[in-house]
Subunit: 347 residues, 2 copies
């Protein structure tokens, strides 16, 4: 655990500004007095793109790299063509900083609504690969715009890339009470990538004899996530399947209002980035209606990553208690929720 935290803060677009302010409030309240928190704000996102045409330059990356971690609000605005900020900023950062573990916990806290009948027990975490698969920008098109156009997308999968994320997932599974790891893929159709994932999953498993394992096709996973979500403990999966699985996981476990995530470089060669799963929600931006809980839970993931486990636990507990008390009460503003969480964490 470091005696100081040098944090890059990227509020971004829409509600990003509002939720990040509350995240920082709770972070300050949680840190031990002797820990020095230094933050530097970066104005990435739609505003900068419109002003300069830039999304993320080499110079930006060099500056960001000098931090211990990054806290992001949300990037994206309808005024920017679809894909520009996603690829030019979000994915660029994941690849540049080798964020090969995309960590997305799904926990249905008591009192929180779920679209599922009977409020099942949900407490699992998805370890999504973040630097390979169909996300590498490989692919192209010929005869574009003609009736003979052919477009390809190439999923790239390496033993190196899969092994490190699979090992990370086993380690996380081993540290949890149930010690269970599920590989999600589609190895009956995507045979080359699927075979590589399956073989590595089995080989690395030998190093973790106390972790029980199983395999599910991604389509069957959809069914279990809504009929039997309690069966999952840790899921490890590829970049695209992970994108799909984690949105469904967020939806069934209380919605994206409480879904946190980390884009992690476990080797610590690069700073990791923590962000709520929700987007910039331009329709409610500036209205102080956004729930900062997902950002605050992302701050807890950030603290855990930096070794502040006790502080992260206090934040998780504060959010859980706050959520449990909400039922039947009038909705509070973004700031009110942030204040309440900071008070709980400090007290």
């Amino acid at each position: 655990m470091s005696r100081s935290i040098n944090l890059a803060v990227i509020p971004g677009d829409g509600i990003g500004q509002e939720v990040v302010a509350e995240g920082l409030k709770v972070l300050s309240a949680a840190l031990p007095q002797e820990t020095k928190l230094e933050t530097k704000e970066y104005d990435f996102g739609a505003r900068r793109y419109h002003a300069t045409g830039q999304t993320l330059t080499d110079q930006d990356l060099a500056e960001l790299k000098a931090h211990d971690a990054i806290l992001l609000g949300a990037i994206g605005d309808p005024s920017v063509p679809s894909g520009v900020l996603e690829r030019g900023f979000l994915l660029k950062l994941r690849f540049a900083f080798d964020h090969y573990v995309n960590l997305r916990p799904s926990k249905l806290f008591p009192g929180v609504g779920t679209p599922l009948a009977g409020s099942p027990e949900i407490d699992f975490v998805v370890v999504r690969e973040g630097t390979e698969g169909p996300y590498t920008g490989n692919g192209g098109a010929i005869r574009t715009g003609t009736p003979h156009e052919v477009a390809t997308e190439v999923s790239l999968n390496t033993a190196y890339g899969i092994e490190r994320v699979v090992r990370d997932a086993y380690t996380r599974a081993q540290a949890r009470p149930r010690k269970k790891l599920t590989l999600v893929h589609k190895n009956n159709v995507l045979v080359h990538a699927g075979s590589l994932w399956t073989r590595i999953f089995e080989a690395v498993g030998k190093e973790f004899p106390d972790v029980s394992t199983d395999y599910l096709h991604v389509d069957a996973t959809m069914i279990f996530l809504v009929t039997q979500p309690e069966r999952f403990d840790v899921i490890v999966t590829d970049n695209l399947f992970g994108d799909i699985v984690t949105d469904l996981a967020a939806a069934v476990s209380g919605g994206i209002g409480v879904a946190a995530s980390g884009n992690i470089n476990p080797s610590r060669e690069f700073p990791s980035m923590f962000e709520p799963v929700h987007g910039s929600a331009p329709d409610i931006a500036g209205l102080s209606k956004a729930d900062p809980s997902a950002t605050v839970l992302s701050v807890a993931l950030l603290l855990r990553h930096l070794g502040y486990d006790a502080e992260a636990d206090r934040i998780d507990a504060a959010v859980q208690a706050d959520l449990a008390e909400r039922a039947g009460k009038p909705a509070r503003s973004t700031v009110e929720i942030g204040d309440a969480l900071a008070a709980r964490v400090a007290g």
Copy 2:
């Protein structure tokens, strides 16, 4: 509408035998007396694979081609390595017979259980592309079995292939009361394929000015399928996204016990194939526990494809009435449900 139906029947593995028997019973009961039904049974699946090593030969394809349509129970058994029958039979048939429309309706019938709270209104149909995308078997691996292995999967997308399935989906949307079509893709990341799908979706839409359209990323689709499934009318999507979306759709709209599907070649150059979405369920095979409703609903899709709309309507109504009467009653056997449905359809 033909005066006779020449049907290839593939009971297949596990519960396939049992459910197909009931499907044929209801089909016979539904057909007008003057329509001659000829059926020929084919023994594809695990048994044949073990006996001969064959899954589907050129000779088999030539024989199947001579029929008006194919009714399939289920293919797959744990004794056969994962992928062998899927690719060697199911996918081979889809590609050989150019089944470019994979039609999967999702309707939550009154009285049927759903994992979703509040039993929302669900009545939509997914038109999944069946002959392209990441399902074409393109891809490979180098340095297999070494720490330097690299495996690829290539998604192939053609203007020709997308346009025909998109047009089919618009036509189906136009024939429904709500006339709404949603394109599901991930065009902010899979830019080459995504751009092609999006451009064709918009261009073909000009021919259907009365159909309203929207676009959703596949990850956001997951959220809406569990929080707002009533927003969907017709969905058109790529082969892999369709695989994932339709299993979730089946799960929320009553489970795979009632999920029907058609692998359709709209040009009628090849026979189309109809099958329940569920698999061979070896754990309950031979116990007369399987619900034949999904197969019976697939028979209705088959009849509609061949122009027997009134007969298809009668079958749909019979299944709906039967499902509505089940609540609180003791479970019936596969045969009892089939008998009840046949009686309703005939009566």
